[in-house]
């Protein structure tokens, strides 16, 4: 399956947005993971932004960055949101409340606990009425989400916004799911390759054993392994370096998503 990439969004410690983040990934700027981004997710209405979780703001921030670059109208673009654990911060608050004798649950907290909260807020912020999917595949949520998004773009013949994100869970939930640092990224994919920044050829193959791509440089390898959403890093690095690359994304123990990236800038 072939798709064009029209826009990219990125957010992680030391990678605050695609504009500067791509230079860091390409080795043209130093990588300083001590600088933590504080996404303003300006597309969210003020009252929604105030109430929303960090997770929602991270996901919406990368989504709006990628969409702005694509030049497409967000109302015309279907969405696929992938996250291993979704709203861990909200789930922690809910489970704390449910462990008290009163069990008073905030209605706002409850409706923010669903896995499609970020997708829902994106739809509200943009008034988008296209199809929207939210999914998980544990450590391989990025590959599963990319597969869903690329398949959607090719079969339904329309553009898709793919967003992948995971934030560290608060304690004590972090004991069950240790994720060291936050990561979010977005790609706007189209079935047509004209005007694209890059082309991605995506194939699914059966393969045994865990054999995954590494990030091109060691300093990003830890980030890639720290967070399931950061499994997209090798793809983002290839885009940043505007170089041709073949990336094998692990999908469960027995499938691979092979992503061949070619820049259209040369």
């Amino acid at each position: 399956m072939q798709v064009g990439i029209l826009g990219v969004g990125l957010l992680a410690a030391g990678l605050d947005g695609w504009v500067t983040g791509r230079e860091v990934l390409a080795g043209k700027r130093p990588f300083d993971p001590r600088t933590l981004p504080d996404p303003d997710a300006s597309l969210l209405p003020a009252n929604e932004r105030r109430r929303s979780s960090d997770c929602v703001r991270w996901a919406v921030q990368v989504a709006q960055e990628a969409m702005a670059q694509s030049g497409l109208d967000p109302q015309e673009v279907a969405t696929v949101f992938a996250s291993s654990g979704g709203e861990m911060e909200v789930l922690d608050k809910l489970c704390r409340a449910l462990a008290t004798t009163e069990r008073v649950v905030s209605p706002t907290l409850f409706h923010q606990s669903v896995h499609n909260t970020a997708a829902g807020y994106w739809g509200i912020a943009t008034s988008c009425q296209q199809s929207s999917t939210a999914l998980s595949c544990y450590d391989d949520s990025c590959a599963a989400g990319l597969l869903e998004a690329v398949t959607y773009a090719c079969v339904e013949e329309c553009p898709v916004l793919f967003v992948v994100y995971d934030l560290p869970a608060p304690a004590p939930l972090s004991g069950a799911r240790p994720i060291a640092s936050a990561f979010a990224a977005a790609l706007v994919l189209t079935p047509s390759v004209s005007q694209a920044l890059a082309i991605a050829d995506v194939t699914l193959t059966a393969a045994a054993g865990r054999d995954v791509s590494h990030a091109f440089s060691q300093e990003f390898e830890r980030l890639r392994l720290d967070n399931p959403a950061a499994r997209l890093l090798p793809v983002l690095q290839a885009l940043a370096m505007e170089r041709r690359a073949t990336i094998n994304l692990n999908l469960l123990d027995d499938q691979r998503l092979i992503v061949e990236v070619k820049s259209c800038r040369h």
Binding site: S84, G85, G86, L91, L94, C95, R96, L98, A99, R103, V104, V105, S106, P107, F110, H111, Q112, S113, V114, H115, N116, T117, A119, G120, Y121, G123, I124, S127, C128, Q129, Q130, S131, S132, T133, A134, L135, S136, C137, Y138, S141, A144, L147, E148, T151, Y152, C154, V155, E156, E157, A171, P172, L173, G175, A176, R177, L204, A206, L252, D254, Q255
Partner: protein, 403 residues
């Protein structure tokens, strides 16, 4: 809007467990005998005054040795579902035909095994606040959203692509759409789709906080309806290309439509804009017009707002032509499992020439304009639309019919 009708996909095996019993026989007997599965809430130590659709027996067994890490209420229910109606045999035959790596597993759930996390939070270490080790080592297999997909894939021994879709109530309707695309793209030759959602404190207290729980068994479309009843269910369907396995008369997925409201997290668009979009798309993909539809299985949760908005959407497309009903009075709202619950019920209706009237609806709300059916009808039907609308304004409609 879809460019062309989709290739129908045969439902070559299907099964369902709800509060009405295990397997499609129990479900269809309850539907025909108008016996509700809803009972006063007796879930764990929950003291809410509400009715629930609890699946009997989940507390009394645990998963066997090989599957022990997965043991939680949601996966027990998932396992129970897999054992009904010869579903495992049908999957084994499909494995023979296509190979384990050519069958996808696409599951839907809204809360996965969160009940385990709720229990773990009550058992935090009083000094450190940390969660008990029996829980932390099994988070991946119980509460994580993908747990259900992992579990089903492990139980049936498949090696194809897999994922869990979690878009609140529309989850296990959208799995049909994803699987249809996977088949269309040649990523697999067959797919197991389905969904499992089980009772937990999060949804019981959450819907209670939203003041959406009825104190009596839910009464969809009734003028005095006052909220929903929560239920739990496990349902599965084996989807295959009709060109390969289709026989005249077999039930097939003919169309699907997916949309968002882009409006509010927990209130639907007041004019049902997203719902209308999903229904129209499902008809377009099926290559059908509104008069071709014999029956509409409404989302029909029995909350005042949702039933009214759905009625507006349905009436604007179909007028008062097709019979409409909600089956939530039998099963309760099974949340992430609602999509597959109602797809399997629609399949039974198509197979048996039968339309369930809306249970517990004594007097249809006079402001609703669609043709809401109260009593069961026995007559052949060929095409059904099933609507599922969820939190985040996430909508999905499926068209099912006989080949």
């Amino acid at each position: 809007m879809p460019k062309r009708p989709m290739t129908p996909l045969t439902l070559s095996a299907y099964t369902l467990v709800t509060a009405n019993g295990r397997g499609v026989g129990a479900v269809s007997q309850a539907l025909r005998g108008r016996r509700s599965g809803l009972t006063p809430c007796d879930f764990e130590d929950v003291l809410l005054k509400t009715y629930i659709g609890r699946v009997a027996g989940l507390e009394e067994f645990s998963l066997g040795h090989d599957l022990e890490p997965f043991d939680c209420r949601n996966n027990r229910l998932a396992w129970l579902g897999l054992q009904q109606d010869g579903f495992m045999v049908a999957v084994a035959e499909a494995k023979q035909r296509y190979g384990a790596d050519r069958i996808a597993v696409v599951m839907g759930t809204s809360t996965s095994g969160i009940l385990e996390t709720e229990h773990a939070y009550r058992n935090r270490d009083p000094l450190t606040g940390s969660l008990p080790p029996w829980y932390t080592s099994r988070y991946r297999y119980t509460h994580n959203m993908f747990s259900l997909g992992h579990f089903v894939r492990a139980c049936v021994g498949l090696q194809g692509p897999a994922m869990v879709i979690s878009t609140a109530c529309s989850s296990s309707a959208k799995v049909f759409a994803t699987a249809a695309r996977f088949l269309q793209a040649g990523l697999c030759d067959a797919a197991i789709v389905g969904g499992v959602d089980s009772l937990c404190h999060t949804t019981l207290y959450g819907f209670s906080a939203l003041q959406l729980l009825s104190t009596s068994p839910c009464r969809p479309c009734d003028e005095d309806r006052d909220g929903l009843s929560l239920g739990e269910a496990a349902g599965y369907v084996l989807l295959e290309s009709s060109e390969r396995v289709g026989r005249k008369g077999a039930i097939a997925l003919l169309g699907y439509g997916e949309s968002s409201d882009g409006y509010h997290m927990s209130h639907p668009h007041p004019e049902g804009a997203g719902a209308i979009r999903a229904i129209r798309q499902s008809l377009d993909r099926a290559g059908l017009q509104p008069p071709n539809i014999d029956y509409i299985n409404l989302h029909g949760t029995a909350t005042r707002a949702n039933d009214s908005v759905e009625d507006k959407a349905v009436y604007s497309i179909f007028g008062d032509g097709p019979a409409c009903s909600s089956t939530k009075g039998w099963t309760g709202h099974t949340l992430g499992a609602a999509g597959v619950t109602e797809a399997v019920i629609a399949t039974l209706c198509l197979k048996q020439g039968f339309i369930p009237g809306t249970l517990n609806c004594e007097r249809v709300d006079p402001t609703l304009r669609s043709r809401i059916l109260r009593e069961n009808e026995d007559r052949p039907i060929r095409r059904v639309v099933s609507n599922i609308f969820g939190f985040g304004g996430n909508n999905c409609s499926l068209v099912l019919g006989a080949l």
